[in-house]
């Protein structure tokens, strides 16, 4: 029975290709981030490093954590955490960056 179930469900296995591609992209992005850190770009070093990290986080969220196939309510829950995190950082910086 187990063998039968295994054979029947083997056909339904989602493709592993996207996981491998995402993994290669993540490694490439990490290399890019590391390499760019040694270029004298002034404040843009931080902009590039944080920008690359944001892309990597999105890749993990969307492909590896299956937000691309998630139900709307799950996506809302995921987005809510980052939305409130963004609000916290935004309002905090609005204070610190405008102090005399």
């Amino acid at each position: 029975m187990n063998a039968q179930r295994g054979a029947a469900s083997a056909a339904k296995a989602p493709p592993a290709g996207p996981y491998w591609l995402t993994y290669l992209a993540l490694l490439a992005l990490q290399g890019l981030s590391l390499g760019s850190a040694y270029l004298p770009l002034g404040p843009f070093n931080l902009v590039i490093n944080v920008g690359i990290a944001a892309v990597m986080v999105l890749l993990v969220l969307i492909v590896l954590m299956h937000l691309d196939h998630a139900r709307a309510v799950t996506r809302i829950a995921a987005a809510a955490g980052f939305l409130f995190l963004g609000l916290m950082l935004w309002l905090m910086l609005a204070d610190y960056l405008t102090r005399p």
């Binding site: 029975m1 187990n2 179930r5 295994g6 029947a8 469900s9 083997a10 339904k12 296995a13 989602p14 592993a16 996981y19 491998w20 995402t22 993994y23 993540l26 490694l27 990490q30 981030s33 590391l34 850190a37 040694y38 270029l39 004298p40 770009l41 070093n45 931080l46 490093n49 944080v50 690359i52 990290a53 990597m56 986080v57 993990v60 969220l61 590896l64 954590m65 998630a70 139900r71 309510v73 799950t74 829950a77 995921a78 809510a80 955490g81 980052f82 409130f84 995190l85 916290m88 950082l89 905090m92 910086l93 610190y96 960056l97």
Partner: protein
């Protein structure tokens, strides 16, 4: 066999799909609170960096970029192996599922081992405030704040990874015993989501703690 391999649905749920959806939504709500929990640390780091930009850049060039980069690659690899484990488990491939989980656990332990060695190095170099801090520069207080944030953020991350390693170990045993099938694999799914979140935290920490002040 069926009873052992597919646990019954709890009474508050209409069916297995309902139960699985609730569990997945539940872990995402938990992860949202975790994002805010780590967010306070990122916020503290940001304030420190705004107030002491030079000291933070100078201090972050003293962390071990080689170990930090290797560890980042190790964690990215675990995200792949965990995805493959959940995929295998979700179609009832016991052997492959358990094997990928074991690989993830071993790599997670390798990360923790390297991190531990790095702490020893940091202690040796006098970079750990409160334990052994011996640092000279134009803004020692700012640098001290950086290393305090470095220690707290990486330690809290390590605690999370330790929990993930423990849960994944249990999942490896359950998968090998045939607890999960194409019909029932929610615990694997939830474990994978938590593992990936811990990876996301490190992806965010890496540029802030290891890549500053290198150029």
């Amino acid at each position: 066999m069926a009873a052992e391999g597919s646990p019954s649905v709890a009474s508050q749920f209409a069916g297995r799909t309902h139960q699985e959806r609730a569990a997945v939504l539940g872990i995402w709500v938990f992860l949202a609170t975790e994002a805010l929990f780590f967010g306070t640390l990122f916020a503290s780091y940001t304030i420190g960096r705004v107030l002491h930009p030079q000291a933070f850049a100078e201090a972050s060039s003293h962390t071990d970029v080689v170990i930090g980069s290797i560890n980042t690659a190790v964690l990215l690899t675990t995200s792949l192996t965990m995805s493959l484990a959940v995929r295998a488990g979700s179609v009832g491939w016991r052997g492959r599922g358990a094997a990928w989980l074991v690989v993830s656990v071993v790599l997670g332990l390798a990360f923790l081992g390297l991190k531990g060695y790095e702490y020893y190095e940091d202690w040796d170099k006098g970079l750990l405030p409160g334990l052994h801090f011996d640092y000279s520069g134009p803004d020692v207080q700012g640098a001290k704040l950086f290393f305090f944030m470095y220690l707290v953020m990486t330690a809290v991350h390590a605690v999370h990874l330790s929990v993930a390693v423990g849960v994944a170990s249990v999942m490896a045993v359950l998968t090998a015993r045939g607890r999960f099938s194409a019909d029932y694999h929610t615990p694997l799914e939830v474990t994978g989501l938590y593992w990936h979140f811990v990876d996301i935290v490190w992806i965010s920490l890496y540029p802030l703690l290891y890549l500053g002040g290198r150029s």
